[in-house]
């Protein structure tokens, strides 16, 4: 017998997966990687990372990999909206599940999307820059980070879905958060002593920074003690957001 949360996951994959949103999942970061990676090449011939000189596109590729859980989380949040829209939310709440199973069903789908999206980003990055991650263990580590981050972002978007009243507002807020988190992080540029203090603070309050940093170190096979801290921060934030999501979802309006 399949556990209820996996049955709900299968349903979300069959029913709630819209090709348009998937295109967004893959399209936008690919666009960043291709357009920004190639355009900035004219301005930034290379980036010094860990004593090595790498191309800007190579620097950017961990950034777009790390964006996947974020995008997948926003898609997960929108599943709650469509279930409410078609009346299925209430129907599933009277179904043969624990309430938490419904949340897990959405989180698991986000995990699948974010790992799938990340593998595609590796592929795009390889085609563009010839870059490959050399060690299998690093790929596995990256996947673990992506899975944990999926819990973080899906929970965040589920909380937003519960508190925001209209889908229009939800979409606007999503775009806004998307913009802030992406650009005030280490995804597009290194955060270092030359970054203005205010932006540095925002970046270090931004969970995406920790995800990008750890993924970048894993991709370039340069793991240090600080990666342990990065991953620790991501794990703690994910746990917090999950608890918050579970609590607020109990109050969700049907």
């Amino acid at each position: 017998m399949m556990p209820p949360s996996l049955r709900l996951t299968a349903r979300n994959l069959i029913i709630n997966t819209d090709p348009g949103t998937l295109l967004f999942l893959i399209g936008l970061p690919s666009f960043y990687l291709i357009v920004l990676g190639l355009m900035f090449q004219a301005l930034i011939p290379n980036v010094v990372f860990d004593g090595r000189s790498i191309s800007y596109a190579q620097f950017l590729s961990p950034g777009v990999v790390a964006m996947q859980p974020f995008i997948a989380g926003s898609i997960g949040g929108s599943m709650l909206w469509s279930d409410r829209r078609w009346g299925m939310f209430e129907q599933l709440l009277v179904g043969p599940f624990h309430r938490i199973d419904y949340l897990l069903g959405i989180i698991y789908v986000s995990m699948i999307f974010s790992v799938g999206g990340a593998l595609l980003m590796f592929l795009v990055s390889y085609l563009l820059t010839g870059f490959v991650v050399h060690y299998l263990v690093n790929i596995l580590l990256i996947i673990v980070v992506l899975l944990v981050s999926s819990i973080l972002f899906t929970s965040l978007f589920l909380v937003l879905s519960v508190f925001i009243r209209t889908i229009q507002t939800y979409n606007t807020v999503t775009m806004f958060i998307f913009f802030i988190l992406d650009f005030a992080s280490s995804a597009f540029y290194p955060i270092n002593g030359r970054t203005p203090l205010g932006l540095r603070i925002v970046s270090y309050a931004n969970p995406l920074t920790y995800i990008v940093n750890s993924v970048r170190d894993m991709m370039f096979a340069r793991l240090t003690g600080s990666d342990l801290v990065y991953v620790g921060v991501v794990v703690i934030l994910s746990a917090l957001f999950f608890v918050f999501a579970a609590l607020s979802y109990r109050k969700a309006k049907i």
Binding site: M1, M2, R7, L8, A10, R11, I14, I15, N16, S82, W86, G87, M88, E90, Q91, L92, L93, V94, G95, P96, F97, H98, I254
Partner: protein
């Protein structure tokens, strides 16, 4: 003593913390029984169902379903009940896929599921629509899908919240017969409707709700007997009817609908001559007039007014 499947005791529910939209409701439903909840819009039927189906917490009172308290065993209860919601609910997919996915959610074994899908497609006349997307169905077809879907899985107790709204008379009859057939095999059903003759046809017992309270309960013949000395004067007229003046003249239960007047009363013999004189003085022509035994409809109108 028959096994009690639903036990509701002194249930009081509120949404805003001030007004009780369900106010001291108590009833029991035995195994295999079809129990009808009737009432006007806003009477509290859906709120009562939402409580019994574990969606709303119990504010005051006690609710036991299949011998379990809803506040303690919500998930165990949900595994054994089926719920057809009053509101539309379906997946963004074809009719057939809706049924398949629902069967998967309920963990119905593959072979059983296949057979059941064919059965409900047939019974609910959805066969020709199996490939059509649920949101492209007509209102009545959507309702049929929603009811059909619930029969995909096994259950001990089924809640149906106005399941026949929008169904044509033929479909309505065959849905009612299907439900009755399932009840004969041991399924317990809680049914809400606004249509009295439906309750009369289907339900073993009926409770009439008004403003959050049960104001009458019994078998349909109980109810008719209790309020059975009532008769209805039914007049069809041509000409404008002044409702206010009619109401003040005949304070009994007067219902005016376009050019029809209905008066439900225990002493129609006294009212009838007065009514005819009244209509004559108002220059209203009588097209047709009759005195009828009260129907369940009349009982309903009488107890809720």
């Amino acid at each position: 003593m028959p096994e009690k499947v639903i036990e509701v005791e002194h249930l009081r529910q509120t949404y805003d913390g001030r007004t009780f939209v369900v106010d001291d409701v108590s009833f029991n439903v035995a195994k295999g029984e079809i129990y009808g909840l009737l009432g006007k819009n806003g009477a509290g039927k859906t709120t009562t169902i939402r409580t019994m189906t574990t969606i709303l917490p119990v504010h005051y009172g006690k609710v036991r379903i299949l011998g379990m308290d809803v506040s303690e065993n919500a998930e165990k209860i949900r595994r054994r009940i089926g719920v057809v919601l009053q509101n539309e609910s379906f997946d963004f997919a074809s009719v057939e896929r809706n049924l398949k996915v629902y069967g998967m959610l309920w963990d119905v074994p593959r072979e059983v599921l296949k057979a059941r899908i064919e059965e409900v497609l047939e019974v609910f006349d959805l066969g020709p629509l199996r490939k059509v997307r649920a949101m492209e169905l007509s209102g009545g077809q959507k309702k049929r899908l929603q009811v059909a879907r619930e029969f995909i899985h096994d259950m001990d107790l089924l809640f149906l919240d106005e399941p026949t709204v929008g169904l044509d008379p033929i479909m309505r009859r065959s849905v009612l017969n299907y439900i009755r057939d399932k009840a004969r095999r041991g399924l317990t059903v809680l049914y809400t409707t606004q249509i009295m003759e439906e309750a009369d046809y289907l339900c073993d017992r009926i409770a009439i709700m008004n403003r959050g309270k049960i104001v009458a309960e019994g078998t349909s013949s109980d109810l008719k007997a209790k309020y059975g000395d009532l008769k209805t004067i039914h007049v069809v007229v041509s000409g404008d009817i002044d409702y206010e003046s009619l109401k003040s003249k005949f304070p009994e239960d007067v219902i005016v609908d376009n050019e029809e007047i209905r008066i439900v009363s225990k002493n129609v013999e006294d009212i009838l001559p007065d009514l005819i004189i009244y209509l004559k003085t108002k220059d209203i022509r009588i097209e047709r007039i009759s005195v009828e035994e009260s129907s369940l409809d009349d009982v309903f109108l009488k107890v809720v007014s």
